[in-house]
Assembly symmetry: C2
Homo-oligomer: 325 residues x 2
């Protein structure tokens, strides 16, 4: 597929989505201060970021609200406390997980909500439930995306079936998600091509959500972008589960649309991300994440190793390579 | 240009060069213990790495031997103390900088030296001196490469002239060097194409030496590889000047040649690189390096900022963006 765009012009179809609270919340159980969230919101507005994701809308009957910060539930009123009527160009998204969100009850009509976009996260084997959630959110007036996770372990034929199902649904966009950070740019090119075919056929857009296990989150994001993918996820300082995500400061340094400004992002990192790290909140590239990414495994073993402060990389490698599954 | 190779097979023309001592030496003024160097040598042999660079052969009349570790001068006898007669498949390289190496005197006949490969580092405007060094080393019996530095600030036409000069020289290989870590994969594709044309025309090979300012060292290395580039530089833990280099542990996780083994690399990192970091030797991706890379500047201001422990990223950004050159 021919490259879309070049390094001197910009493509107006590209949108940047800040997923710091949502993916970063997986690192600190969503315990952010209101000040952090407010500063993040203001930084995104100043930086010209297109969307900001305020968290998951998790089911409070499934998850104990005393064990998580409020952004795991990202209720309309909680968001309103930060954004008021959100009289800005920044759109607001939440993520709703298949099986973990009581969407019929907890996602209200868009007219009554500060939320613009509902992103439905699913595995390839729970597509019917995802489609039901997408239809529900679409009927309530929301822009919707479907984020198919863990595709590095799914067959192309299954992914294609899922994409066809989505093509025939009211979903607006479909996300490529490299959950394990195991994909290389040349795989991303092929996957982007597969997704873009569906996008062109059904009039959808395609998004990219990357993980940094092999230090390829940014590279894979801009690689998908060169293939026509237009919704790009990033987080401040790369904050996100395990090795983290595509860094906003790298992505805005790359995009040429004059709408975007790098400076407020650097300022936010200096004033809000560095103190978080100094306080001991940990994420980002490390050898255990490299190893799970390399082996195309979920990073949960690496997250446990990092939490335990393990530096015995060879022993960890032996453990994860010696699984009998 | 069509992609060379795929993700299931391997290309036997690919060679991996460990540049840990040489580029990493820029971080600690080449003060490595003999134990570190010996372990590195053994790890490279076990991992199936093709070349190991033992340092610069700097001129002792220009540089005070009391102010640098011995690997800045990487003399034949010094190397022999580690490798003996080097009865392994690992080849040995040194780097010789234009203007900083008394090559006629200090580079001896290959028959009397443990070195196999002399890599000549030059800027595009000192090509005649580089060619003289290449001819000298070639006549003495060495394999030679020319590493043209700082090409992100050179014109394509000047680079092309330099490549033609090298095409007509006895040099064996030519390196793409992203000195400032400022190049994106789509630029690397174009540059690789330009270099590969010369390679095909004159029967040379092309190499890649990347820096990690924008977390693209590994991505750019494998991107160049997909375009036919075959000599790939990497360092243990990415140790190298400023943001560091392409990480050996990422590169060997990517390459499919069964000659390569990741385990000895992970072991070396656990036992030798982590202690170095714990002792305060610093390198690797950080916001100041991102900013100099983004602005296509030499990282010296960022290195100074990091050494001073500065975390006032916005003020640093203001300083480097406000230069009047």
């Amino acid at each position: 597929m021919a490259q879309k765009g070049d390094l001197l012009s910009f493509r107006p179809d590209i949108k940047v989505l800040d997923a710091t609270i949502r993916d970063g919340g997986l690192v600190n159980d969503f315990y952010f201060t209101d000040e952090f969230i407010r500063n993040l919101y203001l930084a995104n507005v100043k930086a010209g970021v297109d969307y900001m994701e305020f968290g998951y809308r998790a089911d409070k009957e499934m998850f104990d609200a005393n064990k998580f910060g409020k952004w795991k539930f990202a209720e309309d009123d909680t968001i309103r406390e930060i954004v008021g009527d959100n009289n800005t160009d920044l759109k607001i998204s939440i993520m709703a997980d298949v099986g973990r969100c009581n969407y019929k009850q907890d996602i209200h009509d868009r007219a009554d909500s500060p939320v613009d976009l509902v992103r439905v996260a699913t595995y390839v084997n729970t597509m019917p439930a995802a489609l039901d959630m997408i239809e529900d959110a679409h009927k309530k007036g929301y822009e919707t995306t479907c984020n198919i996770m863990a595709i590095s372990n799914a067959k192309e034929s299954d992914i294609n079936t899922a994409l066809e199902m989505l093509g025939n649904s009211p979903v607006d966009g479909i996300y490529i998600v490299d959950s394990f950070g195991s994909l290389f740019p040349e795989q991303i090119r092929k996957i982007s091509e597969q997704y873009m075919e569906i996008a062109d056929k059904y009039g959808k857009y395609i998004g990219m959500h990357a993980h940094n296990n092999q230090q390829l989150a940014f590279a894979n994001t801009i690689e998908s972008c060169a293939q026509g993918v237009s919704y790009l996820d990033a987080t401040m300082g790369g904050m996100g589960r395990g090795a983290g995500n595509c860094q906003m400061e790298l992505l805005l340094g790359f995009l040429k649309n004059p709408q975007y400004n790098l400076f407020p992002i650097i300022k936010f990192i200096e004033e809000n991300i560095e103190p978080l790290k100094a306080a001991g909140v940990e994420w980002g590239f490390a050898i255990p994440y490299l190893l799970t990414g390399h082996l195309n495994q979920h990073p949960r073993t690496a997250i446990a190793a990092m939490k335990a402060g393990r530096k015995d990389y060879t022993e960890f490698y032996r453990e994860i390579i010696d699984r009998d599954d």
